[in-house]
């Protein structure tokens, strides 16, 4: 045997590298597959249940034995669902627009202006992120009651017209707008509001799109506060209304799932329009979607 011939040990050690790479690849695909299934299954079951008759709802089969669109007909012909849908659209849209305006204005001010107490104001706004909604609903309710806002759009919307999260997100994005742009506009004769609107806002479009989706989805799916502040069925939003399908004895899951399936359509449209922005926005904000 030659001295320079590779030993058996050397050959054995050289082999495992590609094999472990393949294993790693398989493991990654497996994790992604499981994750994908976990994400898709609730949606699949939602659609499946919405196509089932009441007696079949508690069967775990994904494909309905006797598929029906009767639930969709019932829900869409039910006048209540129409109003809940309209309420949700109005509330989510107005809240989103207000957040885009107010959060970006405050974020811009905190980012681009130097004034005494700036850091304290920013910390104070951020600190509200640590207070859970459950703690806030009682003061909100008392306030709504005192001002006569119970069971009104204003009552549902006012706590969310401006958010600490949105302010933080916008402030971080405005950091990426060079001060030279703002100073150049100042020299060119624009006032501060014009600079914010004409120069700064177009430069943070990805953040605005991301914030729009976050706020729209958050308000579209909000349940606790709309449930507390509304009394009349006509003022319900979709999540509150859907929870009331059925009666004391039974929950009409097939109708709830039908309403839920219909209510995902606007969020799907919003997401499809803004998805290229939200991906960039999420990456830049360092947030999880």
């Amino acid at each position: 045997m030659s001295d320079i011939a590779p030993s058996a040990d050397t050959l054995l050690m050289a082999k495992p590298a590609p094999r472990s790479r393949n294993m790693g690849q398989i493991l990654r695909w497996l994790i992604l597959f499981i994750g994908g299934i976990a994400m898709i299954m609730p949606i699949a079951y939602m659609i499946s249940t919405s196509l089932k008759w009441p007696h079949e709802v508690y069967n775990v089969n994904l494909i309905p034995e006797e598929p029906t669109i009767e639930n969709y007909t019932y829900v869409l012909e039910d006048g209540r669902f129409y109003w809940w849908f309209v309420n949700s659209i109005i509330i989510a849209t107005i809240t989103t627009i207000c957040n885009l305006l107010f959060d970006s204005l405050v974020g811009y001010t905190l980012c681009k202006f130097r004034f005494p107490g700036r850091t304290i104001v920013f910390i104070a706004i951020l600190s509200t992120l640590m207070i859970p909604t459950e703690m806030l609903v009682i003061p909100w309710y008392l306030m709504s009651q005192a001002f006569g806002w119970l069971d009104t759009y204003w009552g549902i919307m006012f706590p969310g017209l401006m958010t600490a999260f949105g302010t933080f997100l916008m402030k971080q994005f405005f950091e990426s707008v060079p001060d030279d742009f703002i100073e150049a506009a100042r020299i060119d004769g624009l006032n501060e509001l014009q600079i914010w609107w004409t120069v700064a806002m177009p430069l943070v479009k990805p953040a605005l799109a991301a914030l729009a989706i976050f706020v729209f989805l958050g308000n579209w799916t909000a349940f606790l506060w709309p449930l507390i502040v509304t009394n009349s069925v006509d003022m319900y939003t979709i999540p509150v209304g859907l929870s009331g399908f059925g009666d004391e004895a039974d929950v009409a899951w097939e109708l709830i799932m039908t309403g839920a399936a219909i209510s995902t359509i606007p969020t799907l449209i919003v997401f499809l329009i803004f998805q290229r922005f939200i991906i960039r926005g999420v990456v830049m904000a360092g947030l999880k979607g």
Partner: protein
């Protein structure tokens, strides 16, 4: 167009004063370059003129009118920034037109003005492009166009060529100078590059640590530097400074050599620094100054820079490009007496 005056201008950040009462008069239509190392206060001065920084004390006048308390837009100035500051979401045309947003000029006149400026800057074909589709030089031209379109009293340039490569910088330098000759507005130009200052300025203001060191034409600051800082800052390679002692019309170097120098009125027997530019220091001079050994050569084509180790330290001289002394060779370097500069060795001020 207008003249500009700074009167005892100071700027402090908290307890730290960064500008110590600078005064300057800029004539109508003059091209003045503020030059100095980083942190000397040149950009701060420019930003104070623009109204982007508040003045701690002192007066700024533009066209004979005090502008200290005026907003930037009310000062009739336009500024070109180092990183262009052209808006990426707007076309070239909209960027140029942006300078006219607050103008009450009729729309047709605005359009005419934009076309005129685009013509001057050779950008007519680029008006519909976005900044991302332009080269660095074209972007800088858009920034200049946005400033030009308003026809301001004073143009302010804050290191506008720093982000360009060497070739483009030379080209833009020429273009800005031609532009000034054509439009004739007053220009204040900030740079840390002394070549830019020398090639473009009518007058150069050399700053250091918040003080003006010297104001003069490029020829004045090069040939008659006010102190050792100016002497070393202007000119590349820097002026050689050799320790010595002045006595009448002779300087005796610490290394022992005696050098003939021009007469310095009012000076006695005192310690001095003898300054001589590498361009004036030659191996074949009739007025020898010092002898040393060549340690390094830098061929520049027509000339070769030689680094010579002498008893007074390393000095740089220029030799003929075709037959430069070899590394290791002993050379005797000298310069004509009228090209020698004498500085006070204590405060660095020029004596000659």
């Amino acid at each position: 167009m207008a003249n500009l005056a700074l009167r005892s201008l100071t700027k402090s950040y908290g307890a730290t004063e960064v500008l110590h009462g600078i005064s300057l008069d800029v004539a109508d239509g003059e091209f003045v370059v503020l030059v100095g190392p980083s942190g000397c206060g040149k950009s701060t001065t420019l930003r104070m003129i623009a109204g982007l920084e508040e003045t701690t004390s002192g007066i700024i006048e533009i066209g004979g009118r005090e502008v200290n308390n005026l907003e930037p837009k009310e000062r009739d100035i336009a500024m070109v920034f180092q990183n262009y500051a052209i808006y990426p979401h707007m076309s070239v045309k909209k960027n140029i037109a942006f300078g006219l947003r607050s103008s009450k000029m009729p729309k047709a006149d605005k359009e005419k003005r934009i076309q005129e400026v685009a013509g001057i800057l050779d950008m007519v074909d680029l008006l519909d492009r976005k900044p991302s589709q332009l080269s660095g030089g074209q972007r800088q031209r858009v920034a200049i166009g946005r400033a030009m379109v308003r026809d301001p009293a004073v143009f302010l340039f804050d290191e506008p060529l720093s982000n360009l490569d060497a070739q483009l910088r030379t080209q833009m330098r020429l273009e800005i100078k031609k532009l000034h000759q054509r439009v004739g507005n007053t220009i204040i130009f900030v740079t840390h590059d002394q070549v830019e200052a020398m090639t473009m300025a009518d007058r150069i203001v050399i700053m250091k640590d918040g003080h003006i060191q010297q104001v003069g034409t490029p020829e004045e600051v090069f040939h008659s530097p006010a102190n050792t800082f100016v002497a070393r800052f202007i000119g590349a390679p820097s002026m050689n400074l050799l320790d010595g002692r002045l006595n009448g019309t002779q300087v005796t170097l610490d290394a022992g050599n005696t050098v003939d120098v021009p007469e310095v009125p009012g000076s006695g027997d005192q310690a001095v620094l003898l300054g001589v530019r590498p361009d004036d220091l030659h191996p074949d001079s009739t007025n020898p100054i010092i002898t040393g050994t060549v340690t390094l050569r830098e061929p520049l084509g027509a000339e070769t820079l030689i680094y010579v180790e002498t008893p007074s330290g390393e000095i740089i001289a220029k030799a003929d490009g075709r037959t430069p002394p070899q590394v290791g060779a002993t050379v005797q370097l000298g310069a004509d007496p009228e090209n020698l500069h004498i500085f006070d060795s204590v405060n660095g001020d020029a004596l000659s």
